[in-house]
């Protein structure tokens, strides 16, 4: 119960259907799925949540050490499955960084997952020439952090007391505001660092569950080559390049995403959850 409240877990659809677990990406919250879930309402049990620090989660559970690393977010996914007594046949649907988080969760607990749908995944946002071009160099990502700082910090933050000592964790209290995108500067910075400086290329061979990679044709965050890289290194993966521009096809091109998911789900039917 504590976990369900902590991660603001919501369940939709058919309680007896196979499970779809939706994980939002960096900067947003579970509402980003609201153009996808209606399509699966009749036949699937759909589970939505916010990572700790995002959306309407319990921000007091945020811990800089745990959430400074994608494994901390993967643990949120596992915690939620445990709290719901899910032990197998979960189909994980993750956007962007949540694709990596889902892969990490499936490595930790392969039996829990049936398959994964990865929307706009990237193994690593940083360029590592000549073999891997994630799309950005270090300076770009540092620039993003300061741009975020300038956008979220707000004037109030300039007035907050300077923290004594480097290790002091900024106390996070109160509720996150109801705005769609992340607003807490500390949480946002920690999540951004965990997301954009992650390199999950070495984890790919450890994944044993089948994956659907949904790559945007024109995505300024994830070049086409990254989708191909993932497809090559994820055994049993399917790559589908969507005719979509941007990085949020599930919001901008929901029909394309729903159709691709339907095709994949019908080709890889999930078992009903164990009675």
């Amino acid at each position: 119960m504590k976990i369900l409240k902590r991660n603001n877990v919501h369940q939709l659809g058919n309680p007896d259907g196979p499970v779809l677990l939706f994980a939002h990406g960096f900067g947003c919250n579970q509402k980003m799925w609201n153009r996808i879930t209606p399509a699966f309402d009749a036949s699937y049990r759909q589970i939505l949540f916010d990572y700790v620090g995002s959306g309407q989660s319990d921000v007091s559970a945020f811990n800089i050490e745990r959430y400074g690393n994608l494994n901390g977010y993967a643990q949120d996914v596992l915690d939620i499955c445990d709290a719901l007594d899910l032990t197998q046949n979960v189909t994980f649907v993750g956007h962007s960084v949540s694709a990596s988080i889902g892969l990490l969760a499936s490595i930790a607990r392969p039996a829990l997952f049936d398959k994964l749908v990865l929307i706009g995944p990237s193994a690593c946002f940083l360029n590592d020439p000549p073999d891997y071009m994630g799309g950005f160099n270090h300076e770009d990502l540092e620039g993003l952090l300061s741009l975020m700082e300038q956008n979220y910090v707000g004037w109030a933050n300039y007035l907050t007391p300077v923290v004594m000592g480097q290790d002091s964790q900024t106390a996070l209290t109160g509720e996150l505001s109801d705005s769609f995108c992340s607003t807490d500067p500390v949480v946002a910075r920690v999540f951004a660092q965990a997301t954009f400086f992650a390199d999950n290329r070495k984890d790919l061979p450890k994944v044993t569950r089948p994956c659907l990679i949904l790559q945007h044709r024109l995505d300024s965050l994830v070049p086409l080559a990254v989708g191909e890289y993932l497809h090559q290194h994820l055994a049993g993966s399917t790559l589908e390049v969507m005719d979509a521009k941007g990085h949020c096809a599930h919001m901008s091109h929901p029909d394309v995403v729903v159709a691709a998911m339907r095709r994949y789900l019908s080709n890889h039917p999930a078992l009903q959850p164990a009675a």
Partner: protein, 347 residues
């Protein structure tokens, strides 16, 4: 569309995917473009990489979800490759059956400068605070070490003091302990206060040593020390003055009090034996007011010593007060085991 050109701020119109449809004159001027054909075909081409990521992770999701986003800070890249800081408002609008996004920009050169200075100042302050915290932690640790060291030295001092004022055989204080106690009493009491000093000497001690050996003699001294301690108040002090001679310091005790203490000593002595023989002591007492600032303990000792001599010559096993001619206490009831006087063993 021409109306956009009258607006005093740069305006851009795109479709829902960021494809540029229109721009007003102010925007062309801001970006350093001659005409619309020069405008990058995609909105995100106007942004450097950090801005593109922010656009994709924050602005588009919010626009698609909420329909508008206000007061976003971004940097644009103009035709001269200069970065122009701007505040952006954007809103989704239905226009003749088409979905459009209107983007309105406000150049924010000053705000941007203030903000970077503030951020810099804040980060400097944070660094300074952190350095201060570290320095403080170092100081605290040094202080703690110092106070531990001081404590250790104090403990050492205390034990050295105790050692230097202790007689190793009996565990009683020595002359130095006596001097300290008398001095301390003198300085903390006025001239009306009086104190007493008892000089206690073992009768026939030489004979005990000669007949029973030094070990037995040492045992007698230790036994006597125990009995002296048992006879005095907590505030009193018993010291071994030398050989078989002991001194009892009785602060704030008058003659009567000193007599009681002497009596208790004689009583306790009835349980101390050397071989078959009971051991007795002779005691000389001096009581005086605190009127003599210097040589107080010497004069007390001298007077008590003379009284002791008198107690010895009058038959031992008794107490004499310096200001009396006769024993102030009756000698303890004579015991059958009382040694007889002996020239060699006399003491």
């Amino acid at each position: 569309m021409r109306a956009l050109n009258f607006l005093p701020c740069p305006v851009l119109v795109t479709d829902l995917h960021g494809h540029v449809l229109n721009a007003n004159r102010e925007l062309l001027r801001l970006m350093g473009w001659v005409n619309l054909e020069q405008v990058g075909r995609e909105m995100e081409d106007m942004l450097p990489p950090p801005g593109r990521i922010f656009l994709q992770t924050h602005i588009w999701p919010t626009l698609l979800q909420k329909g508008e986003m206000l007061e976003v800070f971004l940097q644009l890249i103009n035709a001269q490759q200069q970065r122009v800081p701007v505040m952006v408002n954007c809103r989704r609008i239905q226009e003749q059956g088409h979905e459009r996004i209107y983007w309105v920009f406000f150049v924010a050169l000053e705000r941007s400068r203030f903000e970077s200075e503030l951020l810099q100042a804040r980060s400097d302050a944070q660094r300074l605070a952190s350095e201060l915290a570290q320095a403080r932690a170092r100081l605290e640790s040094n202080l703690q070490q110092l106070s531990q060291h001081t404590q250790a030295v104090e403990v050492q001092n205390l034990s050295l003091t105790a050692l230097s004022q202790t007689d190793p055989l009996t565990g009683l204080g020595n002359r130095r302990a006596l001097d300290m106690a008398v001095q301390q009493w003198q300085t903390s009491n006025d001239t009306q206060a009086s104190a007493s000093l008892l000089m206690v000497d073992v009768d026939f001690f030489k004979r005990i040593n000669d007949t029973l050996g030094h070990d037995e003699g040492d045992k007698v001294l230790q036994g006597l020390a125990q009995r002296l301690k048992a006879s005095i108040r907590l505030s009193d002090l018993a010291v071994r003055f030398g050989g078989e001679e002991f001194v009892i310091w009785l602060p704030n005790a008058d003659r009567q009090g000193a007599s009681y203490t002497a009596e208790r000593i004689h009583e306790h002595m009835t349980s101390l034996f050397a071989g078959q023989n009971a051991v007795t002591v002779s005691i000389g007492v001096m009581t005086a007011r605190n009127t003599q600032p210097s040589h107080f303990s010497e004069s007390l000792l001298q007077a008590a010593d003379q009284a002791l001599y008198k107690a010895k010559t009058q038959g031992r096993n008794q107490t004499m007060h310096a200001q009396e001619n006769a024993a102030i206490l009756l000698p303890h009831p004579q015991r059958e085991t009382t040694p007889t006087a002996d020239k060699n063993g006399a003491s």
